[in-house]
Each structure stands twice: as C-alpha cells, then as structure tokens.
Symmetry: C2
Subunit: 82 residues, 2 copies
C-alpha cells in the first residue's frame, strides 16, 4: 500500500471534510424544499404539477413552445385531443 505523509493525510482529511460539509448543507436545503412542497400540499396544491412547473420554467421558452406544439400534434394524430 502506498503510504502518504502526515501533510498529505491532513490534506486528504481536509478535502473529504469540505466535501462532506457541503453535502450537509445541500441536504439541509433539500429538506427546506421538501418543507415548502409539504406546505404547498397543505394549501391544496398538487405537488406533481408543481414539480412539472419547476422543470418547465428551467427550459428555454422557444424549446418549451416547440415541445408543447409537438405534443399537441401527436395527441391530435392519436385522437387524444384534450
């Protein structure tokens, strides 16, 4: 096994702990998001649709419009008009 000196051990520990600390912060923020979804659900919002909205808002408006148009076209072709 490769041995690495004390300095390297310390450097490695620092790297790992910094990554873990950020992971904890991310988990905390994810928990905050979960709370907001739970609160929204309590106020009568549909969480699945909220998640769709968040995903749609990430997309470029042109790409979104094109996808919507294609979806409509395919639905119409299959006699599934809403």
């Amino acid at each position: 096994m490769t041995t690495i000196g004390d300095n390297s051990n310390q450097q490695l520990r620092s790297i790992v702990e910094r990554i873990e600390h950020l992971a904890e912060e991310i988990d905390g923020l994810r928990g905050d998001q979960k709370d907001i979804y739970a609160e929204a659900k309590g106020n009568g919002y549909d969480v699945k649709i909220l998640r769709k909205i968040i995903a749609l808002r990430k997309k470029d408006p042109d790409a979104r419009a094109e996808e919507a148009a294609l979806l409509e076209t395919y639905l119409a072709a299959l006699g599934m008009e809403a």
Copy 2:
C-alpha cells in the same frame, strides 16, 4: 380551466420562487464540491476513490465491516483474492 384568485396566484408564485431559489443555492454548493474535486485531482488524488470514501463514511461502521467481509468471502470463492 380552474381560475384561482390574485392571492392564490401570489401564493403559487411565492412557492415556486422559493423552491427555485433553494435549487440555485444547491447548484452553487454542487459547484463548490466540483471545485474541491478538481483541486484534489490537481493535487494527485483519484476522484473516483475520493467519491468511494465519501460514500463509505456515510455508512454505519458495522454495516461497512460486514459488507467488506462478504466482499472478501465472495472474491475468495471466485479465486479473485487481492
């Protein structure tokens, strides 16, 4: 289509924007993690092994020891001893 009042519109917008704001913060922290991995790589660390270490440290030590023992047993059974 269901219409929802101005208050509800505002409430919906607040929910969506709060979730998006948290998502931005999460993206930022993920970027910070990426920077640390890049820095570690620059210092000669193997990123794949670092990720394994982070995953291993999340596990309960007993569960980790049991997994390691089983892994060794199966490797031995297959004539793959290290």
